[in-house]
Amino acid sequence: MILLELLLGFLFIGCFSFGGAYGAIPLIREIVLFYGWIEEEKLSYMIAVSESTPGPIMVNLATYIGSTKAGVPGAVIATIAVILPAFLIVIVLTLLLKKLVENGVFQSMLGSLKSCVTGIVLATGAYMILVNCIGSVNTVSVDYAAIIMTVALGAIYFGSKKIIKNGMSPIILIFIAGIAGVFVYGW
């Protein structure tokens, strides 16, 4: 029952995604691969599309995956599921438990949790770059073009932070990477 899977999967993501959209990407990737909803490659394409279209990235991913798996009902269910925990938590926190957020026990657990999420996101980014450049354990294939593009795009993106205050926008990086891709891999 795909609708039930979407509901449970995205409720789970909504409940455990700390640290904004990029904090949630490792978990989304895990759930998506667990249920086999879309391939890993398609997921990274959709991250770029979600980044380049308006709206929260996590919600965009939920809408897309829901829609490709089960049409409009799937999109509606996945989207509601991913936002429902945040919606309810804010209502409960605002109405009842304002003190909880400042509580020492809560903060100590949250602090460690954030460090852990940071490590997970770092590993996810590093692993994605690794797979782009040299493939996975089962299918090792060195892609020299990808290695050169990673170094060049990384230099442009991180270098721009030295020149402009917040660096270049992710959308511009995605755009440059797309053009580079067309030239490198052909049209």
């Binding site: 640290g19 709206g55 409009v72 919606f87 100590s108 460690s112 354990v137 067309v182």
Partner: protein, 190 residues
Amino acid sequence: MKLLLELFLTFSRIGLFTFGGGYAMIPLIENICVTKKEWITHEEMMNITVIAESTPGPIAINCATFVGLKKKGVWGAFAATLGVILPSFIIILIISYFFDRFIEIKWVASAFKGIKIAVGILILDAAIRMILKMKKKPLPIVILSVAFIAMMLINIFALRISTIILMLAAALVGLFVYLIKQSKNKEVSQ
């Protein structure tokens, strides 16, 4: 009713014009809800940002829910949240119908091969920004390093270990260290 509609329309506009996810929305929400419409105070905005970062889920949803709730109770929260997601919901829904065919075009497929590389860099960048914001103390650094190594091993060897396990373990370690510190403080004060 008029206020509900205004909440819905205002947050639709915020949802439609912010690219790059929730963090990009915060300055716009601040500008509209605090400065222009005076729906919430600057301090409330700061508080909700902390709550948003301390609770799971998309940050934009947390903010919209909070502002709506303040202005018009649960229905206000509902109107604002619906508003903030509706524009992107419609856009992504439309994209999802032609994306599979679109990606089969040769130059589009090539472009996305390049874009995949950008996504890796963006995720790495998100991690670096999280590290910069982190307190540089032994405990966070140890937890970060262990989580990084564990996650690398999980990815490389396709282990079936959920990231939730890592997160729960980290939270427990944090709690444990906090309790030890508390009991030590008590001993000192006695």
